[in-house]
Each structure stands twice: as structure tokens, then as C-alpha cells.
């Protein structure tokens, strides 16, 4: 049995970095468009800005077929449990980009009706400022996400998502016990967390 000369055909690396390299270059976006940011998003996806250059070409309108949630616009308290369910249904591993100030912090809507930042109910990886942000800003935000993906470890991402599932289980348990609607349950969880100075419920 003769020796096989492999030369340059073998490269050593870490599993994390090669998997993350694949992940960051094939993001499948799911738009959760609720306001004007979604209009900028259309521009970002189409020919002038051409978001598909970054490997996120296949836009899917089903959470089951996507792994990057783009929240584009104002999210009301009534939408909060809907957003949580959509995030829960997405294929793992999954990332969230809060596009625009409304999704990031509630923006100018400082009222009872508006969720003060989607990071209170779902984990957010990148916040893109602007009202609405220009397509370049959104692209830069996703480039930041790609950089973050290339740095993260596979297990930490899994644990990060697992924390959200635990909060969803807490929500369902609470809903069963109180007999309240999902809207009111999430609202009360957010208010109670706020009373304790906590930003988020997950």
C-alpha cells in the first residue's frame, strides 16, 4: 500500500468557523414588515441595492423556511405574542435584526400601544438605527450580523435560542394558569419585568 500524497488538497480548521462560514453566507430572510422600513427593505432586496450579493437571496414568507427575522417597523403590544410565535417557528439556528428605531426601542411611539423595542420579547442580534434606515444601513447591519455569526460558537447560539424557548414555556404555563389571552399574558410579563428594571422577558 503506497503512501498517498495529499499536498494542498487538505485544510485544517475548526468546526465552528467552517459551519459559521456556511451559515453567514446563506441567510434566509423573513420580513416582518409593519411600517415604512418595509418599503426601504423592498428597495434593498431589488436591483439597485441587490441584497442577494450577501448570500441572502431567497426571501421566504414562511418562518419555517427562514433563519433571519427582519423586523421592519413598529410592533404593537398586540403583535408581541405573534412575533414571539413567529420567532419560535423559525428554523434553527436563527437570528433577528431589528430594523429602524421603532423595532429597536419603540421610537417616537412612547405609548401604551407600542412595544418599547422588540428585544423585550425576542432576542435581537443587530439593531439598525434610522427612521427609516436607508438600504445601505440595513445592508451594513446584516454585514455586522455576518461578522457576528463568524465569531460565535455553535453551542452558545443554541443556548441563546434555548433561553427564548424557556420564556415561551413560562408564558404558556402562565397563560394556562390564569386563563388570560396570550396578549395580556405577554403584556403582564413585560410590565413585571419592567418593574424589576429588566429590559426583557426571555
Amino acid at each position: 500500500m503506497g503512501a498517498i500524497n495529499l499536498d494542498d488538497s487538505v485544510m485544517t480548521t475548526r468546526l465552528d468557523s467552517v459551519v459559521n462560514w456556511a451559515r453567514k453566507n446563506s441567510l434566509w430572510p423573513l420580513p416582518f414588515g409593519t411600517a415604512c422600513c418595509a418599503i426601504e427593505f423592498m428597495s434593498m432586496m431589488s436591483s439597485r441595492y441587490d441584497f442577494s450579493r450577501f448570500g441572502a437571496e431567497a426571501l421566504r414568507f414562511s418562518p419555517r423556511q427562514s433563519d433571519m427575522l427582519l423586523v421592519l417597523g413598529t410592533v404593537t403590544n398586540k403583535q408581541a405574542p405573534v412575533l414571539r410565535q413567529i420567532y419560535a417557528q423559525m428554523a434553527e439556528p436563527k437570528w433577528v435584526v431589528a430594523v429602524g428605531v421603532c423595532a429597536s426601542s419603540g421610537g417616537m411611539y412612547r405609548t401604551y400601544a407600542t412595544l418599547q423595542g422588540i428585544d423585550r420579547v425576542v432576542p435581537v442580534d443587530v439593531y439598525v438605527p434610522g427612521c427609516p434606515p436607508r438600504p445601505e444601513t440595513m445592508i451594513y447591519g446584516v454585514m455586522q450580523l455576518q461578522e457576528q455569526i463568524s465569531r460565535e460558537s455553535l453551542s452558545s447560539r443554541k443556548e441563546h435560542i434555548e433561553r427564548f424557548y424557556q420564556s415561551l414555556a413560562r408564558q404558556e404555563e402562565r397563560q394556562r394558569a390564569s386563563g388570560q389571552s396570550g396578549y395580556q399574558t405577554v403584556r403582564e410579563m413585560v410590565l413585571e419585568a419592567g418593574e424589576q428594571g429588566e429590559q426583557q422577558i426571555w
Binding site: 412612547r110 405609548t111 401604551y112 423595542g117 389571552s181
Partner: protein
């Protein structure tokens, strides 16, 4: 002027009135409201554009329910205000105007004013078990959320990177 005709046909029904550049408003009591609506329907005011309410808070009765009517032939508009006290009901117009259905549900949802005779008086915008009625003056704007009105959230400013775009 339709207000004069209302006063002639239904004496004493108009509690107050004003008109400014064709913007005609009458105030009528809740118990005679349906008479007025039936009369102006015959006069041509056959479209109910909107039902809303005003919370006067310190006044008694506390609320004004405001109806906007449009005369489709003459294009005249008429606003009817019905003062209503807290907990008292206003007669529903759903049997006369289909557009009253959701408008009245919205007023019920946001002001807590019940409409007598409405076929499905449930909340329109807020969820069913939402506590309180948000457009009342005594409802806090932030809905009790400390993160809403005060800056107590964690600041991400030191970690933010410059975008330079």
C-alpha cells in the same frame, strides 16, 4: 338649514347648537337621539361617516359621543353630539347604519361607553381582557410601563459602532 328643520319638527330636542362656516353641530339628549336620526335620515343625511367620543373628565356628564353624518344629495354635513354620563348607554345605530357597527365597537373599546342594542358589542382594537379604556383622560399614556416614559433601559450607546454611511 337642517338644524332649523329639526327644531321645528322636534321642539325642544336641540339642547345646544353652533355652526361655523357650514360646520353644523347639534347637541341632543340620548333619550331623543333616535328620533333625530330618523328625522335627518328623511332629510337626506343617509351616510354615517364616523362615530367617536370626547372625554371631558371633569364635566358632568363626562362624555360626548360624536356622530358625523353626510347628506349624499346636498353634500351637507351634520355633527350630532350626545352627552353621556359614565356607565350610561347610548342607543346603537347599527340597525339603521351598517357603518355604526365597528365605529361603536371602537368607542366602546377605547372609551368604555356601552351602546344599547348593538348586536356584538366587543372590543375592536385592544384584546378582550385588556384592562381599562385607553382613550379616557385618566388612563396613563404609558399604560403603566416604566420603560415607556422614563429612560431607565440599558443604554447601548457606548457599544454602538459608527456607521459612517
Amino acid at each position: 338649514m337642517v338644524i332649523e328643520r329639526i327644531e321645528a319638527q322636534l321642539p325642544g330636542v336641540v339642547l345646544d347648537r353652533h355652526d361655523f362656516r357650514g360646520d353644523e353641530t347639534v347637541v341632543v339628549a340620548g333619550d331623543r337621539f333616535l328620533e333625530v336620526v330618523d328625522f335627518i335620515f328623511g332629510e337626506g343625511f343617509q351616510m354615517l361617516l364616523d362615530v367617536t367620543a370626547v372625554d371631558r373628565e371633569d364635566r358632568e356628564p363626562r362624555f360626548d359621543v360624536v356622530y358625523h353624518f353626510l347628506n349624499l344629495t346636498s353634500q351637507d354635513r351634520l355633527r350630532i353630539k350626545v352627552p353621556v354620563a359614565e356607565g350610561c348607554a347610548v342607543p346603537s345605530l347599527v340597525s339603521r347604519f351598517k357603518s355604526a357597527d365597528w365605529s361603536e365597537r371602537e368607542v366602546f373599546d377605547l372609551f368604555g361607553i356601552p351602546f344599547e342594542g348593538h348586536p356584538n358589542l366587543s372590543r375592536l382594537l385592544m384584546w378582550e381582557d385588556f384592562p381599562g379604556h385607553p382613550l379616557r383622560k385618566d388612563y396613563p399614556l404609558d399604560g403603566g410601563d416604566r420603560f415607556c416614559s422614563q429612560d431607565i433601559g440599558a443604554s447601548f450607546a457606548p457599544e454602538a459602532r459608527s456607521l459612517n454611511i
